[in-house]
């Protein structure tokens, strides 16, 4: 119940300083995450960084990683947003089960997920006969990379978007309809804009997950230079033969992720509340 004037937004608040334990644990947490990154920075061969990153193998892996992760995120969005909508708004029997099913890729080990994808889409797989007849082979192609990455990224997107949809007050949509807005107008002008922060967070998380995917990719899509050897796969192969290039590539991938995630952080925190 609002009482009296709402007034202008009040900016000053008395904030209690955090307890010492909280500060110490927080610092430890930050260190935990930052230490590997700092260590990488230390191990980089700075003088050769540019040449290491511009080898044909490195460039091929980078191009493949960026193209496939973005496509995978788009695929996850196309599949995930309607699903999130249904899970958030439609009551149906087995809804909890479906939600659990969609979260499966989160808990299944990626290699196991890859084996599953093979069993479904491989030449000997469930759909293998049909695909063969149509002359389509999915494994060992970038399409397989996109599928593997989308598979593991989907739950992140659905989780974030479902939470976002649930948090939209229905009364805004009700009000919009009483003002003469059709359902699609409401979706376009009210629901989607209000959903934007959650959607952005979901997309960012999904993309980051897709970018880093290894196990499902190498099992389902294989490890072919220029076709399926994304940066994580390339790094793994290079660890012994060219550790410097491996480290340089790793650092580049981490940097890209950090830049994107920092840029989105404000919306992000607002969305996953």
């Amino acid at each position: 119940m609002k009482s009296g004037e709402v007034g202008k937004k009040v900016n000053r608040r008395r904030v209690e300083p955090p307890s010492r334990i909280a500060v110490v644990l927080s610092l430890l947490a930050v260190l935990f995450v930052a230490l590997p990154v700092i260590a990488l920075l230390r191990d980089v061969a700075w003088s050769r960084l540019i040449s290491d990153l511009t080898t044909p193998e490195a460039r091929s892996a980078l191009r493949l990683s960026l193209l496939c992760s973005i496509s995978a995120t788009a695929l996850a969005a196309v599949l995930g947003v309607p699903l999130a909508w249904v899970l958030a708004r439609v009551e149906f029997r087995g809804r909890g089960f479906v939600r659990g099913l969609v979260l499966l890729p989160l808990v299944v080990p990626p290699v196991v997920a890859g084996v599953g994808l093979l069993a479904a889409f491989g030449r000997n797989g469930m759909l293998g006969g049909t695909l063969n007849m149509l002359g389509i082979r999915i494994t060992f192609t970038p399409i397989a990379v996109v599928i593997a990455e989308a598979f593991v990224a989907l739950p992140f997107l659905v989780l974030a978007v479902e939470a976002g949809i649930r948090s939209i007050d229905r009364r805004y949509e009700d009000a919009a309809r009483t003002l003469g807005a059709s359902r699609s107008f409401v979706t376009r002008r009210i629901t989607l804009p209000l959903l934007a922060p959650s959607l952005a967070a979901g997309l960012a998380l999904a993309w980051a997950r897709a970018l880093g995917e290894f196990g499902a990719t190498i099992t389902f899509a294989g490890n072919i230079q220029g076709r399926t050897r994304t940066v994580p796969l390339a790094v793994y192969l290079l660890l012994d033969s060219s550790p410097d290039v491996a480290i340089a590539l790793s650092l580049l991938l981490v940097s890209i992720c950090v830049v994107v995630l920092v840029a989105l952080r404000a919306r992000w925190i607002g969305a996953i509340r």
Partner: protein, 250 residues
């Protein structure tokens, strides 16, 4: 423009069953305590709550009709969705779109009907100006005062010049001084409005200031119906007696 309503609907524990008519040019107040079904009534008229049986007819156009199955097996069902009912609703919590400015909120109603953005904004600005809040047109709802937000919500409900205006507790969230100011504005606006006007409130002062006729709604049923003088002079329920005793100066 007139309204004929026979509404039976059950929502949760509440059984709402009312029957009334409203003529143009008169403001009807629906007076009742919390939980009486006032908001449900507003939602049913607005089309956000389909009725279980009865009919709602506005200007001879059926908005909602549900006749229970006849023995012959035939049943009639008509439901016009909210966006096609041509009603303006002022919600209790205003429901101003938080991601849009005050101007955009009002213009939204016009744009939803196909009016081009520039024209919609022009008309919206004019209306805001006539309500003395043209100066806050660019502000987001979160930074408006209670009274300002109220007027924006009112403008938004009015801008399409709908056939029916439904106001749900329009003044209850304001403090005393703002309330009396806004009440005065509301009175002017209502008098200038041509269609059916229904205002829902639990505040007797609102009823007296704004309405010509009152329906007393208690636990889903109408217990009094008539002009204010009639109802106050002959209270036939504890609730009305209680209200009268609380407001001796009326």
């Amino acid at each position: 423009m007139s309204l004929v309503a026979q509404i039976q609907v059950r929502v949760g524990e509440l059984d709402l069953s009312v029957e009334f008519e409203a003529a143009p040019g008169e403001t009807i107040a629906v007076l009742g305590p919390n939980g009486a079904g006032k908001t449900t009534l507003v939602r049913a008229l607005a089309g956000l709550q389909p009725i279980d049986s009865g009919r709602i007819v506005l200007d001879e156009r059926v908005l909602d009709e549900r006749v229970l199955d006849q023995p012959s097996g035939a049943s009639k069902e008509i439901f016009v969705p909210p966006e096609k009912r041509d009603a303006g609703v002022l919600f209790q919590d205003l429901a101003l779109f938080p991601h849009m400015s005050a101007l955009a909120n009002v213009a939204f109603a016009l744009e939803a009907g196909g009016v081009p953005k520039r024209e919609a904004e022009r008309r919206a600005l004019a209306l805001l100006g006539s309500l003395a809040i043209g100066s806050v047109s660019g502000a987001r709802p979160v930074s408006l005062s209670g009274g300002e937000a109220q007027r924006v919500a009112l403008a938004r409900a009015l801008v399409r010049e709908p056939r029916m205006l439904l106001l749900d507790e329009p003044l209850s969230s304001l403090d005393a001084s703002t309330r009396s100011n806004t009440r005065a504005t509301l009175r002017e606006v209502l008098e200038g409005f041509n269609g059916v006007r229904i205002i829902v409130t639990h505040d007797l002062a609102d009823v007296v200031a704004l309405a010509s006729r009152v329906l007393v709604l208690e636990s889903g049923a109408i217990t009094h119906h008539g002009s204010i003088q009639e109802v106050l002079a002959n209270p036939s329920s504890d609730y009305v007696r209680h209200l009268v005793s609380q407001n001796p100066n009326i």
